[in-house]
Amino acid sequence: MPIKPLAMRDAFLENIWREMSNNEKIFFTCADYGSPVLDRIRADFPDRFVNVGIAEQNLINVSAGLALEGYTVFAYAIAPFITMRCYEQIRVNLALLSVVRPINVNLIGVGAGYSYVVSGPTHQCYEDITLMRALPNFQVLSPADHITAAKFFDTCINNCDPKYLRFDAQVLPVIYRNEAPNISKGFHVHKRSDEICLVATGYMLHTALEASIVLSEEGLQVGLIDLFDLAKFSVADLYDTLKSYGGIVSLEEGFRGRGGLDSMLFEFIARHEIKAKMLNIGVEGVYHFELGTRTELHEKVGIGPQAVLNSVRAFSRSLSK
């Protein structure tokens, strides 16, 4: 039976709600932001739910204080606000403090990339991968569907470091229909090939998957990796997976060339002396105020389905020269 796609947040929060019955050490904080499942958490666990109001700095500080008192905290808000409005609170009271004391605070940011399509650049989020991976003890988790999002719950309970989960605000198609991915390596290999490998995260995995099908019909077989742990993936396994490719393509719904997935892969292949050329597909240029569908907006900034196909085709031609 086909799996009905869910919002990532609802699949993830469902696990929190279920666990809260058995585990009195879970606390849920939010900055005046909801979801249908959150309504159940609020109703069933009023003592371990708190809405701090539209006050992200306090969201982080209160969550840090709760963690110091032994709680596993899930802090929930819109992605650009829970990362950028309170970045220094995150740095000082989560990243720095967790070096000395256990701080299990899990930041759930909803609205990765362009997923708040018509809300404009304040609510869209193209900088979070760069910012959050700059904090060395943060785990940065970026699922492509609700199955993967839900799977991260065990990581959040069992791994005591602070974490950032970047969730899409839209309901995305299910990628992992047969079984949830093994998340221990931090990535999942969907396709293998010889020459070019697409490495995508979050929503862009869907674009990459479609592109790989079209390219295959044109006779160009590409590898495809879903990189969902952007900070603590298995270095040895990713090296083994990427080492033989001649070309690697990064695909992210974030600014190109500003420290996101593309920079991470550049650093990775340079450090490990992988002799691949790179193509980086990410948001080109500056902030945009135009309205459009997500696909239209993506095409404008160079990460839409057509733009990706054209870029990969040209990349392939340049490799075979």
Partner: protein, 269 residues
């Protein structure tokens, strides 16, 4: 500790703080001198419950020192209480020492990161909420400077603490009225800070912040109010207290007194 011993302890901490600054001029002396009696009353006046042999004891009162740079006077206090050997005071700011120019939570007795200002109250608020939910009856004290109350995150926490009736949360304002570049009322005035906090739903007291005996009484009163409101004690203090040229000087934060002056104040030691 009896009252004359409390006063003697505050004098001893004042001298030790000067001595540390003489050895480590990178430390912030003036802002540490305004908070000495506050910390002496908290730690020696029977206000805080703590166990130096078990710094993270669950039954301790939590003391968050938000004005980190201005708490060098805590080094002799914590050493005296047995959190770490007194010998460590000789090595402040030296390579390999855990006692830096700004205290960090690697120091036994420090709970949180305090180098960046305006963070302690919010974290303390979360701890106070956590203690309530755990039905742990211990209290959370948080010492801030009046200057750092310019940070907006404090006011988010102030509203939140009142909303959640956190009467186990006790703010102590070291109100020396000076931040780095001058008098706070000429930078951004807090107006009548007590009235302002009261209007946010807090119970407020005021005290002369260098009278260690009055501080002890006020802090105990603050701790025992338990009427569903967070409490604030505004301690009126003098930045750089007792050091000529430094005391209440608008640039005392960045001006270091001459070593000869400190030597003479310490009696030629």
């Amino acid at each position: 500790m009896n009252l004359s011993d409390l006063r003697a302890k505050a004098d001893w901490v004042w001298r030790e703080t000067l001595a540390i600054h003489l050895r480590a001029p990178e430390t912030r002396l003036a802002s540490s001198l305004s908070s000495i009696e506050i910390f002496v009353a908290l730690y020696f006046g029977g206000v805080l419950r703590f166990d130096p042999t078990n710094a993270r004891d669950e039954s301790r009162d939590r003391c968050i020192i938000s004005k980190g740079h201005g708490s060098i006077c805590m080094y002799p206090i914590l050493a005296d209480l047995g959190y770490f050997p007194m010998e460590e005071l000789q090595h402040v700011c030296e390579s390999g020492s855990f006692l830096g120019g700004i205290p960090d939570p690697v120091i036994p007795g420090y709970e949180t990161v305090n180098g960046s200002l305006g963070h302690g109250l919010g974290v303390a608020t979360g701890m106070a909420l956590g203690l309530k939910r755990k039905e742990n009856r211990r209290d959370v004290f948080v010492v801030v400077g009046d200057g750092e109350l310019h940070e907006g995150a404090n006011w988010e926490a102030i509203m939140f603490a009142a909303q959640h009736n956190l009467d186990n949360l006790h703010l102590v304002v070291d109100d020396n009225s000076i931040s780095m570049l001058g008098y706070t009322n000429q930078i951004v005035s807090h107006g009548d800070l007590g009235a302002r906090l009261s209007s946010f739903g807090w119970d407020c007291l005021e005290v002369q912040g260098h009278d260690v005996v009055a501080l002890r009484v006020a802090l105990l009163r603050q701790k025992n109010m338990l009427n569903g409101k967070p409490t604030a004690l505004i301690a009126k203090t003098l930045k750089g207290r007792g050091v000529p040229g430094l005391e209440n000087a608008p640039l005392s934060h960045v001006v270091n007194p001459k070593p000869d002056l400190l030597d003479s104040l310490l009696g030629g030691v």
